[in-house]
Symmetry: C2
Subunit: 198 residues, 2 copies
């Protein structure tokens, strides 16, 4: 199962209107070396994709409703500028967040993947935030909050990786591969961020 | 034990010639919220500081000699531009790397700590790399490699946290606190980086 539902509003993986990443495949190979990402991690991510599919809704609800919703300086990025809820925006971006979990685990890390990393980053910056949904929300998510929140993603995903009775060594391997991938993605996102949106 | 040796060349924590961070203590409090850093993490970091002191040399040797030394695009940042070794530069920066482990665990995260985070970042950029040691090395470490290498730091520190027979729950707690702190620091370092040194 590589898709959350068949169609997700604003999800444009591999589409022509996605930004082109300036990062080369050679840059990506060097970044993989830096982060220690190997073919074993690819195998573990495929395993993780199987484990997590079917759990993505619960995971994103945890992140968005149990954690982000209680941190005002994060919650506001899914709301209108006056703080009122934007349920359609939240619902659509939650589905894309779910799909991101599966894409992290199940996609090949190739040219279209690099381009979509760039697109994901831009969609948190003034260049593209709110556009896919026509949402009247905050103009950008500060990069520092994205970097910091990665620690929460990594920490809270672990019980879900352990939910299917794989061995502790396999859970450990899936989690290590996940953390490496997300840190690699974070490096790519940072490259797309304007300096003044830190 | 809050110091690796009594005196470390170029280590300037709390000194007047350290850069001033533009980040406010209020910004830091918000970042702590984003990363989920609590007083429990502070306690676990103190515990980790006790566990890791005495092991910092082995940890930094692992990072520098077993990992970085085998990745040419990382190893070059401790070498001369022609690739020849700079043993004094490497030794001094290794000691500061050791001290960073202890500072991560044992320092209060206050104004001087924020300033030293800024200083640490600048020392990887064109603004200040090589200066403390007068070393003829690469002009800067690309930010993306610092972000990606954090995954390696986090993954490889874990066995050292487990080396003193603390309970699995305490090892888990120490590791969670470590990862949160390093991701928080990474957010701060990113703010100090020029856009074109990504």
């Amino acid at each position: 199962m590589t898709r959350v539902p068949e169609s997700i509003a604003g999800y444009a993986y591999g589409k022509l209107d996605v930004a082109a990443s300036p990062v080369t495949v050679e840059d990506l190979e060097r970044l993989k070396e830096t982060v220690g990402f190997t073919s074993e991690d690819e195998r573990y991510l495929r395993l993780a994709g199987g484990v997590l599919s079917g759990q993505t809704r619960a995971i994103v609800l945890l992140w968005r409703s149990q954690i982000i919703a209680h941190i005002p300086h994060l919650a506001r990025h899914s709301r209108a500028l006056d703080g009122s809820p934007l349920p359609d925006y939240l619902a659509a971006s939650n589905l894309r967040f779910e799909q991101w979990i599966l894409d992290t685990c199940l996609r090949a890390y190739d040219r279209p993947w690099l381009d979509y990393q760039h697109e994901i980053a831009l969609r948190h910056t003034i260049a593209k935030k709110n556009r896919a949904d026509g949402a009247p929300s905050t103009p950008f998510v500060p990069l520092r909050d994205i970097i910091a929140f990665v620690a929460v993603l990594n920490d809270t995903i672990r019980p879900y990786l352990a939910a299917r009775e794989h061995s502790p060594a396999d859970v450990e391997g899936m989690h290590r591969a996940w953390c490496r991938s997300v840190q690699l993605q974070l490096a790519l996102w940072t490259g797309a961020y304007p300096k003044d949106e830190w």
